[in-house]
C-alpha cells in the first residue's frame, strides 16, 4: 500500500494537470479564438440598429406645410403580459379609437399577440408608452396636412422604399431625403433592448426642407374655381396655371380630370393641347419681329370663310372665322376678333423658319425645365416636316402645335415681362433642418424673345382683345383691367380631331399695367357654349376676383393702388385739411360715366373712413378719400342727389 505522501503527490499532480488543462483552454479561447468569441458575445449582448432620418418637409411660399414627415406607430398587444387586461383594453379603445367590439373579440379569442396596424400618431400612443404588455413599433410616414391641395404637383412617396415616387417628391428626392444614422443597443437575455448614449455610432441627419413657390391660398382658389367650372360646364377636364411673370415662379397649378376613381395627374406639365387662338399672338410676334406688317397693313377677312390655296395644283383648305368680319383687318384687329382668315393671310408673309424660330424662342417644343419630373416637351415639328402653306396657317390659328399649360403661361409671361422669357420654377428656397438657407431661387432669364417695344405692342393687342368688340370681354374685371386672349380649338386625340369636342382656353395678364400674374385657364370639352370667351374667360375673372379679395394671396396690392392713383390729378380742394396724409382710393381703373337715377348721398359724418367708404359704395357711389380718421364732410354733401357711379369726395380729420 502506497504511503500517504505518495497518494497526496499523485493527487496534487492530477490537480495540477487539471488546472493546466483549464488554463490551456482559457488561453486557447481567449488568445487564439479571441475574435470569434468576442464577436459571438457582441451579437448576444448588442444589436446594431439603423436609425431612419426624417424626410424634409415641403412648404408653400408662406410656410404653410404641404407635406411633412411624422413618426407613426403600429401597436402590438401581448394580453398575457398586461397587468390589468380590462384597464389595458380601455386604454387602447380610448386612445387609439379602435372599435371596442372588434378589439374585444380579439381579446376573447385568447390570442397571444394582437396587432393594431393603425398607423397611430404620437399623440395617440403617448398614454400607452411604458405600459407593460403594449409594444409600439414606430416608423416615419409622410403626411399631407392640406389634404389634396396641389397633390398632383406634390406627388407621393413609395411606401416600401420611403423615397419619392411621383411629382416633386420624386424630383426633389435627393434634397428631401436625409442620411440614416446608426446605433448599438444593448439587449438582455429576453431580447429587450436598452439604449445607451455612449453607443450612438452615427446620428441620423434629417432631410432639407423645401419652400415651394406655390401659394396655398391661390392654389385653393384655382382648384375650387376649376372644380366649379367643370361641374357647371359639364366638362371633362381642365387646368389652371398662375405664374409670376417677373420671376417665373409658379404660384398655383390646378389639374382635374373627370375620371372616376382616378387621382388627378399634373396635366399642366404632362398633357399638351392645341391652344387655338391663344397662340395667335405668337405668330403676330413673329410678324412684328421680322417686320412683315406695320400698323396700317390690313388683309381682307373674306366675310368669315376663305378657300385658302394650299399648293400649286389648286388644292384648297377652307378656313372659317367664328366671328365673321367684313372688310379688312389689321393685325391688331385680327387678334381682337380672333380672325383665323386674317392670321392665316398674315402668316403667309413669314417663311417657315421665321415662324418656327419665333415660336421656339417662346419655349414651345422644349420642356420648361421646371422641377417637375416627366414634363412634356409638347408637340412642335421642325419646318422640314411642315406642309409649308398648310402648317404655317395652322400654327397661326394655334393648330398643329401642342403646348402644355405651363409652356403657354411661360410664353405669355414673356410678353408681360417686356419680352424676356423667364425659367418657370417651383422651388423658392431650400433650408437645412436647422433652418439655415441653402438655396434661394433667383429669377433666371432664358432669353430675350422679342424687344420691349414689340412686347408693348402685343400687350396692346391683348388689351383690345378683352376690350369692346374683343372676344375676351367676359374675362374683364370691372375696375382692375386685365389683358387676355381667348382660344377655342377642336380637340386632337389619338391622332385625329374629334368632331364636336373643343378645348376652350383663356390666357390673361393681370393687372393690365405691369402684370403680376400670367393666368392660363383651359377647359376640355365643355358642353353647351364651348367658346373660350364664354367658358374659360369668366372662370378666370372669378378666380382673379377671389384672389384680389383674399388678403393672403401674393399680389402686391400696393402697386395697384400706387400706380392707379394719380395724386397730381386728384381734385385739389381748398378745404382739404393741410398737412394730413392723403389716403387715395384708386377708383376706378376705367372711368365709367355715372349712370342711373340720382340717389341721395348718405350721411357718413363722424364715421371712420372705412365705414364711410362701405356705406357710399353700397349706394353705388365711387369714393375718393382725403385724410384719415373720422369723416368731417363729403362732396357732394349728405342728402344731395347724384347718379350712381359719381365720385364722392370724403374729407376726414
Amino acid at each position: 500500500m502506497a504511503k500517504v505522501s505518495h497518494r497526496i503527490a499523485v493527487l496534487q499532480f492530477c490537480f495540477a494537470l487539471a488546472v493546466l488543462a483549464v488554463l490551456g483552454r482559457a488561453a486557447y479561447v481567449q488568445v487564439i479564438q479571441r475574435e470569434r468569441w468576442a464577436r459571438e458575445a457582441e451579437e448576444q449582448r448588442t444589436v446594431r440598429v439603423v436609425l431612419p432620418a426624417r424626410r424634409g418637409a415641403l412648404y408653400d411660399r408662406n410656410r404653410v406645410p404641404l407635406a411633412i414627415t411624422q413618426e407613426f406607430y403600429h401597436v402590438g398587444v401581448a394580453p398575457n403580459e398586461l397587468e390589468d387586461i380590462r384597464a389595458g383594453f380601455l386604454l387602447l379603445v380610448r386612445n387609439l379609437g379602435t372599435s371596442a367590439p372588434a378589439l374585444d373579440r380579439e381579446f376573447q379569442a385568447r390570442k397571444r399577440w394582437i396587432y393594431l396596424h393603425g398607423p397611430f400618431n404620437a399623440t395617440q400612443v403617448q398614454p400607452l408608452r411604458g405600459v407593460r404588455g403594449i409594444h409600439l413599433d414606430g416608423e416615419f410616414q409622410r403626411f399631407y396636412p392640406s389634404r389634396d391641395l396641389a397633390r398632383p404637383i406634390i406627388g407621393g412617396i413609395d411606401p416600401d422604399r420611403s423615397s419619392g415616387a411621383a411629382g416633386l417628391e420624386l424630383s426633389l428626392d435627393s434634397i428631401l431625403t436625409g442620411r440614416p444614422g446608426e446605433a448599438v443597443f444593448l439587449k438582455d437575455r429576453a431580447g429587450r433592448r436598452y439604449e445607451s448614449p455612449g453607443r450612438m455610432v452615427r446620428e441620423p441627419v434629417a432631410g432639407n426642407d423645401v419652400v415651394l413657390t406655390l401659394d396655398a391660398e391661390l392654389q385653393e382658389i384655382a382648384e375650387q374655381g376649376l372644380d366649379d367650372a367643370l361641374v357647371q360646364l359639364k366638362a371633362e377636364s381642365g387646368d389652371v396655371v398662375f405664374l409670376d411673370p417677373a420671376t417665373g415662379e409658379l404660384l398655383a397649378l390646378a389639374s382635374r380630370q373627370a375620371v372616376e376613381g382616378d387621382h388627378p395627374r399634373a396635366s399642366t406639365f404632362t398633357d399638351p393641347f392645341e391652344p387655338g387662338s391663344t397662340a395667335k399672338l405668337f405668330t403676330a410676334a413673329a410678324l412684328l419681329v421680322h417686320r412683315r406688317v406695320d400698323t396700317t397693313d390690313a388683309v381682307f377677312a373674306e366675310n368669315g370663310q376663305w378657300e385658302m390655296p394650299v399648293n400649286s395644283a389648286g388644292r384648297t383648305r377652307t378656313i372659317h372665322d367664328a366671328h365673321p368680319s367684313k372688310g379688312k383687318l389689321t393685325l391688331a384687329q385680327a387678334i381682337q376678333v380672333s380672325s383665323n382668315i386674317a392670321m392665316a393671310k398674315f402668316a403667309s408673309r413669314l417663311s417657315p423658319e421665321e415662324q418656327f424660330e419665333t415660336l421656339r424662342d417662346f419655349g414651345f417644343g422644349t420642356p420648361t425645365a421646371a422641377e417637375f419630373p416627366s414634363e412634356s416637351r409638347g408637340r412642335f415639328a421642325r419646318p422640314d416636316r411642315w406642309q409649308p402653306m398648310y402648317t404655317r396657317a395652322s400654327l397661326a390659328m394655334g393648330y398643329e402645335i401642342g403646348v402644355t399649360p405651363v409652356q403657354l403661361a411661360s410664353a405669355y409671361a414673356a410678353i408681360a415681362n417686356d419680352g424676356v422669357l423667364m425659367a418657370p420654377t417651383l422651388v423658392k428656397e431650400v433650408r437645412d433642418p436647422a433652418g439655415t438657407l441653402l438655396y434661394r431661387h433667383r429669377p433666371e432669364p432664358v432669353r430675350r424673345v422679342i424687344s420691349s417695344e414689340i412686347a408693348t405692342r402685343l400687350r396692346g393687342f391683348l388689351r383690345e382683345a378683352v376690350g369692346e368688340g374683343g372676344t375676351g370681354g367676359r374675362g374683364q374685371l370691372s375696375n382692375y383691367a386685365l389683358l387676355g386672349k381667348t382660344g377655342t380649338a377642336k380637340r386632337f386625340e389619338g391622332g385625329r380631331y374629334v368632331e364636336g369636342e373643343y378645348t376652350a382656353s383663356f390666357a390673361a395678364l393681370f393687372p393690365a399695367d405691369h402684370p403680376q400674374l400670367a393666368v392660363i385657364v383651359k377647359i376640355d370639352n365643355p358642353k353647351g357654349s364651348y367658346y373660350g370667351g364664354l367658358t374659360a374667360a369668366p372662370v378666370t375673372r372669378t378666380m382673379l376676383q377671389q384672389a384680389l379679395a383674399s388678403r393672403r394671396v401674393a399680389i402686391d396690392r400696393g402697386r395697384f393702388a400706387t400706380r392707379d392713383s394719380t395724386p397730381e390729378e386728384e381734385p385739389k380742394s381748398a378745404d382739404a385739411p393741410a398737412g394730413k396724409p392723403a389716403v387715395v382710393v384708386p377708383w376706378p381703373a376705367r372711368l365709367d360715366r355715372p349712370s342711373g337715377s340720382p340717389l341721395p348721398v348718405p350721411s357718413v359724418e363722424g364715421r371712420s373712413v372705412r365705414e364711410a367708404a362701405l356705406a357710399l359704395h353700397r349706394r353705388g357711389f365711387r369714393v375718393n378719400l382725403q385724410g384719415i380718421g373720422r369723416v368731417v364732410r363729403t362732396q357732394p354733401e349728405a342728402g344731395d342727389s347724384a347718379p350712381p357711379g359719381t365720385s364722392v369726395f370724403v374729407y376726414a380729420e
Binding site: Q70, P197, L477, Q545, F560
Partner: protein
Amino acid sequence: MRLRGRHWAVIWLVILLCVLVAITTRQTAGFRTARRVRELREERLALEARRADLERRIRVASSRQVLVPVAQRQLGLHEPSDSEFILFALPRSGSGKR
C-alpha cells in the same frame, strides 16, 4: 504595523468592489439618461404631432372650402367682385405729420 498577506487581499478586494460599483453606477446612470432622452424625444414627437394636427385643423377650418360657405350661410357674406372692394394706397412717407 506591518501589512500581512490577508490585509493585502482585503485591500485588493475593496478596490475591486469600488471599481465594480463605479462601473455599475456609471452604466446605470447611462441607462437612466438614455431612458430620459428617449422619453423627452417621445414627448417632443407627441407635441409635434399635436401641433401638426392642430395646424391641420386650423388650416382646414380656415380654408375657403369651409369658411366661405359658413360666412355665406351664417353672416350673409358673399365673395366680393372687384367692384365691391377698395384698395387703399399707403400714405407716402413724409407726407403727413404726427
